[in-house]
Amino acid sequence: MPGLEDLYREIILDHYRNPRNRGELESPPAHRSEGFNPLCGDEVVLTFTTDGTTITDLKIGGQGCSISQASASMMSAAVLGKSTAEIREITKTFKAMMSIHEGEMAAESDDNATLPQVELPLGDLEALRGVVKFPVRIKCATLPWNALLSGLDEAN
């Protein structure tokens, strides 16, 4: 039986209590993207600026449970200064850790899928690995990431 210590790792509680990059940028000029979890009412509001290729500034607003807010805080630290392409790779790696393999069906018929994948280091984000043992909470962890992806799509 997974215990609470698998879910609420100290580093997660630290990000929850002391969220990084908290706030909101004026939009426009910043891009703005929101994510909602209709089940629990959690919301995340991302505002970010890009120079065309990399995210130059990112602020996190909204409210929610420790998992969604810690995930958002860790995400902000992980993606700041990274290129859009890098961010998409990090997101893919993070979601894979959450047992979400997007495009898996399509990839099976893709010869490239058999090539070894390069594992990206996730740093602090590794602490969220335990969330997988609590399937109800996976949506909490992925909420800010989905908001970021849709924000990047719109920014393009």
Partner: protein, 409 residues
């Protein structure tokens, strides 16, 4: 008479463990557990009686029909309906609301009309009207929240001007508030409006008398009152139902069908197209007989006593760290306790409680307009029923302390 101390023994699920702890089930406002009487009634139906109803002259078809219609009569008596024909079986309370909106509403609501609901309604009593209003263009008005989780009825008469239907929950599924249905109903009738009562949280917990409440429609659901899922009820006065057009079309709801058109059946069959959920209806019949055998007054008294104990115990253990939304006067509320505890997010709270086998609901409880009025995104809700005990409350109070320590800033 009081509720037997060992009543939990009649609910098989309440003897299981969760995360190696005896289950503490505190989510009956979402769905109640089922007693042996209901489970065995449904099991026996499938094992010995199963046949389609209102068709065929053979013995078991007649027995199935009789059992189903006995359930309808017992449910009618349970809410003091004038006649069993006024009990319309639906899938759940949500479908009952949609039936009223799509049948009565389509005929009676137009651009110059208004309906009146409240800030504390469940989405089931909001969205069907919003969907219909997109087509029919009528106005939806809201009775605002007042103090202490009650409705502000100061401007009720003004709000009722030009209103054709007033639709109000008898008990809030978030705040536990018992609304003054008779008072609102009297005002609605004086203004020429019909009165619909959402009984989903009320019928399972208090003696319900539709004649005394003087309402015109009532929606409620089976699974919150010891019955199975998949069965709800619309009750309405016969003359209103007679004047309403059918909702769903198909078998059972017709007297005759020609290429040129159909003749609708009498009530209740007019609103029950297709093969009904027979086992679920029989299960709900067994549920109301079970509740009757305990006595709804006794159930209400048990819940008042338990709610008082919960307020006392939670305040004693946690003082100002805990806030319970809704009325502080226990006589004016049911056993629904929406809790704010320190700054612990409801989702995290329910996660920690789950480790202790405690089942509470975290979220917006399908009442987002109310959550916005309260200024919160979510609450953790512990809701009590006839099988809960003071010991359940003690375990909750202790486990909350652990959540407080884990998330302390």
């Amino acid at each position: 008479m009081t509720i037997p101390w060992n009543i939990k023994e009649q609910f098989p699920l309440l003897s299981r463990t969760v995360n190696d702890k005896p289950i503490v089930y505190l989510d009956s406002a979402a769905s109640s557990q089922k007693p042996e009487a209901v489970l065995s009634a449904m099991d026996t139906y499938y094992r010995q009686v199963n046949a389609n109803v209102h068709r065929g002259a053979y013995t078991i078809a007649a027995e199935a029909t009789e059992q189903m219609e006995t359930a309808r009569s017992d449910i009618a008596k349970f809410i003091n309906a004038y006649s069993a024909n006024e009990i319309i079986f639906t899938k759940n309370a949500t479908e009952a609301f949609n039936l009223v909106a799509r049948s009565w509403g389509v005929r009676n609501l137009g651009p110059d009309d208004a309906i009146l609901i409240t800030d504390m309604e469940h989405h089931a009593n909001i969205v069907p009207w919003q969907i219909l209003a997109e087509d029919r263009g009528f106005e939806i008005r809201w009775i605002p929240l007042g103090n202490d989780g009650t409705l502000d009825l100061t401007n009720l008469d003004k709000l009722l001007e030009g209103v054709k239907l007033c639709s109000v929950t008898a008990m809030s599924n978030v705040l536990g508030t018992l609304n003054p249905i008779r008072k609102i109903s009297d005002a609605a009738h004086a203004a020429g409006a019909l009165m619909l009562m959402d009984g989903s949280q009320y019928v399972p917990h208090l003696p319900t008398d539709v004649a005394d409440l003087d309402v015109d429609f009532m929606c409620f659901t089976g699974h919150k009152m010891c019955g199975p899922t998949g069965i709800g009820v619309l009750w309405a006065r016969a003359e209103i139902l007679d004047a309403m057009p059918p909702f769903l079309g198909g078998g059972e709801m017709i007297l005759d069908v020609k290429k040129s058109g159909f003749v609708a059946n009498e009530i209740p069959h007019k609103f029950e197209a297709g093969t009904p959920p027979i086992a679920e209806i029989i299960g709900l019949g067994a549920a109301v007989r079970f509740l009757d055998s305990l006595g709804m007054k006794n159930i209400r008294e048990h819940e008042i006593s338990l709610t008082k104990y919960a307020f006392m115990k939670l305040k004693e253990c946690h003082g100002d760290d805990i806030q319970i939304h809704g009325p502080s006067d226990i006589e004016k509320r049911g056993g629904v306790l929406s809790i704010a505890y320190k700054d612990v997010h409801p989702h995290d709270l329910s996660q920690v409680l789950d480790q202790h086998g405690i089942c509470v609901r975290a979220g917006h409880h399908c009442a987002k307009p109310l959550m916005r009025e309260l200024g919160v995104g979510a609450t953790a809700r512990a809701s009590l029923y006839l099988y809960n005990t003071e010991s359940d409350i003690d375990i909750l109070a202790e486990a909350l302390g652990e959540a407080g320590e884990l998330f302390a800033f």
